[in-house]
């Protein structure tokens, strides 16, 4: 029988033969899609690239990241001696004076690692940058493929540790948002446009962080019997609903964190005056 269960008697083809060769239907073209399949990976790549360019500039700028009461999320917590003093703010001189470059680098490792190993972003950059695959049923240009079985991609399995770190970072950013309810003279009970930007950002950061697949697993997904853990089951249900929007939250929180930083930049550099509500 052709669809038998005996092992195939044909020679396995050379690696990277793609979908057209060997005993498969002889179709030479790498794909027959007629829709604009390239749009999604192109847009993803463009979006990610734009963020990379922006964040690289801002992370290495080492300037205009604090305008009381706002601290840029890229620089929070700020852990080197060279940090600007932030009144009751998230800075602690853990690294001392030997740290000679932008203090953003110290802390950005964590959110970067979190997003780099995130199950959604992995899909996004595997498709958008690595073209593996560029789109469904569109041949990828690589001869060999080993997925996440080897170094370095096997490190993607560390996602949950970055998630733990991201929880801490989100905690600090929450603290920053609370501090944003002050005025430039550190008096409590005030709000400006920046406070609103921070508020939106922190909500999205939390939603994105909690909607993480690792979080979903840790909270309840790893259980075999939900019925024996009703509280964790409810939490899992909540996280699952968030998780269904993980992609949306990944993009909106990426945008909002850049926006929050850019807002601080505008105010700190004097290009824009933070409108105060009360």
């Amino acid at each position: 029988m052709a669809t038998g269960t005996e092992p195939p008697d044909t020679e396995p083809r050379a690696p990277g033969g793609g979908a057209g060769a060997g005993t498969r239907a002889a179709i030479a073209v790498p794909h027959l899609r007629t829709d604009r399949w390239w749009l999604a990976p192109a847009a993803t790549a463009a979006g990610l690239l734009a963020f990379i360019v922006y964040s690289t500039w801002r992370a290495f700028a080492d300037a205009d990241y604090y305008a009381a009461p706002y601290v840029s999320p890229f620089y929070s917590p700020c852990l080197a001696e060279r940090c600007r003093t932030m009144h009751a703010g998230p800075n602690a001189d853990l690294f001392g004076s030997w740290w000679a470059i932008s203090p953003a680098i110290i802390i950005l490792i964590f959110p970067l690692g979190f997003r780099l190993t995130c199950y959604y972003y992995r899909k996004a950059y595997y498709r958008g940058f690595w073209l593996s695959p560029p789109a469904c049923a569109v041949a990828e240009p690589h001869r060999k493929y080993t997925g996440e079985t080897r170094f370095p991609l096997i490190l993607q399995n560390l996602h949950r540790y970055f998630f733990y770190a991201a929880l801490l970072v989100a905690g600090v950013l929450t603290y920053d948002t609370v501090l944003a309810f002050r005025d430039p003279h550190y008096h409590w009970g005030h709000m400006g446009l920046g406070t609103l930007v921070f508020l939106v950002n922190i909500v999205l950061i939390w939603a994105y962080t909690l909607s993480c697949h690792s979080c979903r697993h840790i909270v309840g997904g790893r259980l075999k019997h939900f019925s024996r853990h009703p509280v964790r089951y409810r939490m899992w249900g909540f996280i699952s609903r968030l998780n269904a929007r993980h992609m949306l939250l990944a993009w909106t929180s990426l945008f909002s964190v850049a926006l929050a930083d850019f807002y601080v930049y505008l105010v700190a550099s004097g290009a824009f005056d933070d409108p105060r509500f009360f």
Binding site: M1, A2, T3, G4, T5, P8, P12, R13, P15, G16, G17, A19, G20, G22, T23, R24, A25, A26, I27, H31, L32, R33, T34, Y119, R122, K123, Y126, R127, S132, P133, C136, A137, V138, A139, E140, H142, K144, Y145, T146, G147, E148, T149, I154, N157, R160, H213, R216, H217, G221, R222, L223, K224, H225, F226, S227, R228, H229, Y233, N243, H246
Partner: protein
Amino acid sequence: MSSYEARFKVWRGDAQGGALEDFKVEVNDGEVVLDIIHRLQATQAPDLAVRWNCKAGKCGSCSAEINGRPRLMCMTRMSVFGRDETVTVTPLRAFPVVRDLVTDVGFNYRKAREIPSFVPPPGLGPGEYRMMQEDVDRPQEFRKCIECFLCQDTCHVVRDHEENKQVFAGPRFLMRVAELDMHPLDAAAESGLDRKRTAQDEHGLGYCNITKCCTEVCPEGIRITDNALIPLKERAVDRKYDPLVWLGSRIRRRPTAG
């Protein structure tokens, strides 16, 4: 009822070779691609080979690639195409072709055998099984699978790399591992089989790079990646990359989760 003449390109041939053949064929209101293929059979190409059964999206036989996208022919309405659009139908491109639109899907049946079956809990007889709905919800989603093998076809791990067929079970059968691992009464762990570990060590879970094409093509709307593959990856991490668990297992034998 309005009907029109549509242009079709259908791949015809076998393992020795073949090509896209042009057809002009009548299309009526409410028809699906499979209807058109049947009309071709009945009027123009009586020996056109095609697999089909239920014609209602329940058996998963009529898998093919329509305009380059893996789909069920019986669930692809002609109304999604423009009247002047040429509709291209080819066999699944990840499997050896038998003839025309029929491919050898034996790969999937071989992989199915490599997944150790459900292990009944010792000490429970027929009629004594008690399971809560919230516990069976997860595996039930996976059991909606109609085995159309569109996910296996679209997955680039094997579609673009024939050599990976040896080591990679494919989304459908990794989902089967997840289903059994989430089955509230599966006693594999008690019998010494660690499905979490073997998912990665024996069934190639690490090859999956979660690019979600399996989920995109699933005609049953099963969220294969989010609900089966990623949870399975996380379970493998529990076993293999969690230092706390690793340390714990050195000190004392931990009971399985839950």
